[in-house]
């Protein structure tokens, strides 16, 4: 009898919270606006595969003998320009001298420069390597890295083609054999699931977990401190209701809210950003619930320590900010220095996001995310055991 009351009370308290929530139009709108906002912002601000578009690159040809450009450099420039036009990434512009090219980079008019060395043709003819220097803009490290990599590989590819035709001509074996001789290894890149890697595909699982888990962490303290401030909490505390029912009811309501929020993120990601769910959908929902479970304790602890809404808000900011950046929502954890990687390993959100990515992007099944599931469950259980006595004590002051 006692236990049925306990459960019924939780359901009624949850129901009350959800009715209030469903009648708050502004909140409902935010449920859609907020994730949309986050996806659009983060999805487009951070670099994706197609950032390199028509980047102006200065071309300086120093390979000149008696007023005439060397053959080899002219061929290389022709090949580069053709490649630039075909891929649309670079817009090569012939520039008079190296110092002029440097000046243009400093002024921000060029994103980089390709400088063909003085004795380029002569070196090649005499059996040596021709020198090409790539200048880059140090004020834009992310762009420079991509420019360098793209130019390096373009120049190397042109060089390889040249080598293949030389071998073909001099040794007299056919083209395929010549290629095998020059580049004995052939590298093919393939994902484990069909489709190209997309930043949204990477982002969506992270944002989903982030919003779901934060909604419990924020929602719980906010709901309770709000009721404390308006005085309605006294009404619930003065009723013959167990403290456990109160916290359970509140958690239940926030969980429903969290899963709704997660579902909306997923739907937006699929419909608007072409994200695919490769794993089973029940596992996606299951992971959301597990994520919520692992965070309930944090919510209850904040509720118990913070006496009013403002203090609760501050606590949440303190926890959320590092979590957003350390848990790998926007950047992969592997990119971080080792000490931050350790910090990220202490956050449940990291595991939740990791698992969700495996399921959504890689189509993983339960057996593939067992470690994460166990860790999340452990996190949640330990935090609950810590938080419930704290809550009970805070309520009987």
């Amino acid at each position: 009898m006692r236990i049925t009351h306990l459960l019924k009370h939780s359901v009624w308290i949850a129901q009350k919270d959800l009715i209030e929530f469903s009648r708050n139009r502004m909140l409902l709108v935010m449920l859609i606006i907020f994730p949309l906002f986050m996806m659009v912002l983060t999805g487009y601000i951070f670099p994706t595969g197609n950032t390199l578009r028509d980047l102006p690159i200065a071309l300086v040809n120093q390979d000149m003998n008696e007023g005439i450009y060397g053959n080899e450099s002219v061929t290389l420039i022709g090949d580069l320009e053709e490649m630039g036009q075909r891929s649309g990434s670079f817009d090569f512009r012939t520039t008079g001298s190296e110092s002029e090219a440097r000046d243009l980079i400093t002024k921000g008019k060029m994103s980089g420069a390709v400088i063909i060395g003085k004795d380029f043709t002569e070196d090649i003819i005499s059996g040596e390597q021709g020198t090409v220097t790539v200048l880059y803009d140090q004020s834009k490290p992310q762009i420079s890295l991509q420019v360098m990599a793209a130019l390096d590989s373009a120049i190397a590819r042109i060089g390889t083609q040249k080598a293949v035709s030389t071998v073909n001509r001099t040794i007299g074996i056919d083209k395929n054999a010549s290629s095998a001789l020059v580049t004995p290894f052939k590298v093919g890149n393939k994902g484990t699931v069909p489709g190209n890697p997309s930043y949204f595909q990477f982002l969506a699982p992270g944002i989903m977990m982030l919003l779901v888990m934060f909604s419990v962490m924020q929602g719980l303290p906010r709901a309770i401190s709000h009721e404390k401030e308006t005085g309605t909490f006294d009404g619930i505390l003065a009723a013959p209701t167990s403290r456990f029912s109160i916290i359970m009811g509140k958690t239940l309501a926030q969980s429903v809210r969290g899963v709704t929020q997660g579902g909306i993120v997923l739907l937006l990601a699929i419909v608007l950003f072409g994200v695919k769910v490769n794993g089973p959908i029940w596992l996606v929902i299951g992971l959301m619930l597990l994520g919520i479970f692992s965070f309930i304790g944090v919510g209850i602890i904040i509720t118990s320590i913070a006496s009013d809404e403002e203090t609760a808000q501050m606590f949440m900011m303190l926890l959320q900010f590092p979590m957003m950046f350390l848990s790998g929502v926007f950047f992969p954890v592997e990119q971080m220095p080792w000490y931050l990687q350790y910090a990220s390993k202490a956050l449940p959100l990291t595991y939740a996001i990791q698992a969700m990515r495996k399921v959504m992007v890689l189509g993983a099944g339960v057996q593939d995310i067992l470690t994460e599931v166990v860790i999340l469950f452990g996190f949640g259980t330990v935090l609950l055991f810590v938080s419930i006595p704290l809550f009970k004590r805070a309520m009987s002051k």
Partner: protein, 343 residues
């Protein structure tokens, strides 16, 4: 209604609550009888609300204890909760819910069975003429309407005792009258025991069978309004209100020197004197003249609860409330002389 001979429905013993170094409630003892309206009267910050919070199990006493409807508030809080209703100064209701939904939620939390609960809700809404608004969200209501719901919300579980913390605070005169009538009706027809706190003397006078005067966390006096007034008006005691022209700051002290003056208090140029004789108006005027003070006006008054409060605490409640002076260790504007030696 007196306490003699009856067993207490609510009984406190040395009830004390400290917040850090500040003692909000200091060893309070009182007894409330079954079916009584008992008022806790005192200025803001006197400790009334803290007493109510302890008796409704919302706050644990630092020391001392109390029994409510036969159950100990410290040892059996759950049993106490089942027995009592609470009308809080901050209204307990959800704005986005309708009155019916609010009452239903709380009825369920008190384990009132479904059918009975729906009937009870209908009955309560009828009592306060709110059936028409039963399914409108409370956020759209006026303060008066909200307070009606706030009061009946406390009754949904059929409590034996209802605690009301400032039930008419912030209401317009019409709503105030309505709520007071409702309180009286509940007390008379259902025999409900009601404890209410108020800082309005008139309210306590009209509503309460007995009153406990609270000052600085202590009970200054307990009794029915007429008993309390009799204490300062018995044996033909006279209260004279003097309006003086440029009186010295210690006018009240000088007047008290007259052997027939029991107590005196002063706010600026007004001095209130309680005299231990009948028809002593002339004597008071004589004393004023003897002290070379000049009169603008003077009148004999019948005692009010305000005078009672003044007499027992030496401070005026009206002034305290008006100025919202924090009470902790503060002093009222009335400087007082004389003692509580009332026979």
């Amino acid at each position: 209604m007196t306490s003699s001979g009856q067993s207490c429905n609510i009984e406190t013993k040395g009830l004390t609550k400290k917040f850090g170094g500040f003692t909000a409630v200091d060893g309070v003892d009182f007894c409330v009888n079954e079916g009584e309206i008992f008022g806790l009267l005192g200025p803001n910050g006197a400790g009334k609300s803290t007493i109510i919070r302890m008796l409704t199990t919302l706050s644990m006493p630092t020391s001392g204890t109390a029994k409510v409807a036969g159950h100990d508030i410290v040892k059996e809080p759950h049993k106490v909760r089942e027995m009592v209703g609470i009308v809080s100064e901050k209204m307990i209701m959800y704005d986005r819910l309708t009155p019916r939904e609010n009452l239903r939620l709380f009825g369920r939390l008190y384990n009132v069975p479904g059918r009975e609960l729906e009937d009870r809700i209908e009955e309560l809404l009828t009592i306060v003429n709110m059936t028409k608004w039963a399914d409108t969200q409370i956020g759209k209501f006026s303060t008066g309407m909200r307070q009606r719901i706030n009061v009946v919300r406390s009754l949904v579980s059929k409590p034996r005792v209802v605690f009301m913390d400032e039930p008419t605070l912030g209401l317009d005169p019409q709503s105030t009258t309505e709520i007071r009538k409702l309180i009286q009706r509940l007390n008379r027809s259902d025999g409900l025991t009601i404890i209410l706190t108020t800082h309005i003397m008139n309210e306590a006078d009209v509503l309460c069978g007995r009153i406990g005067l609270i000052d600085k966390g202590r009970i200054a006096a307990i009794g029915s309004p007429s008993e309390l007034k009799d204490k300062i008006s018995e044996k033909g005691r006279t209260i004279v209100d003097l309006d003086l022209i440029d009186p010295p700051h210690d006018a009240f002290d000088r007047l008290r020197m007259a052997e027939f003056v029991l107590s005196a208090a002063q706010v600026e140029n007004r001095v209130k004197v309680i005299v231990s004789r009948e028809n002593a108006f002339e004597d008071v005027l004589e004393a004023v003249r003897k002290n070379e003070m000049r009169l603008r006006n003077a009148s004999v008054m019948s005692p009010s609860l305000e005078d009672v409060f003044l007499h027992f605490t030496g401070r005026s409640m009206v002034e305290e409330v008006k100025d919202r002076v924090p009470m902790a260790g503060g002093h009222g504007p009335w400087r007082r002389s004389g003692s509580g030696r009332v026979r």
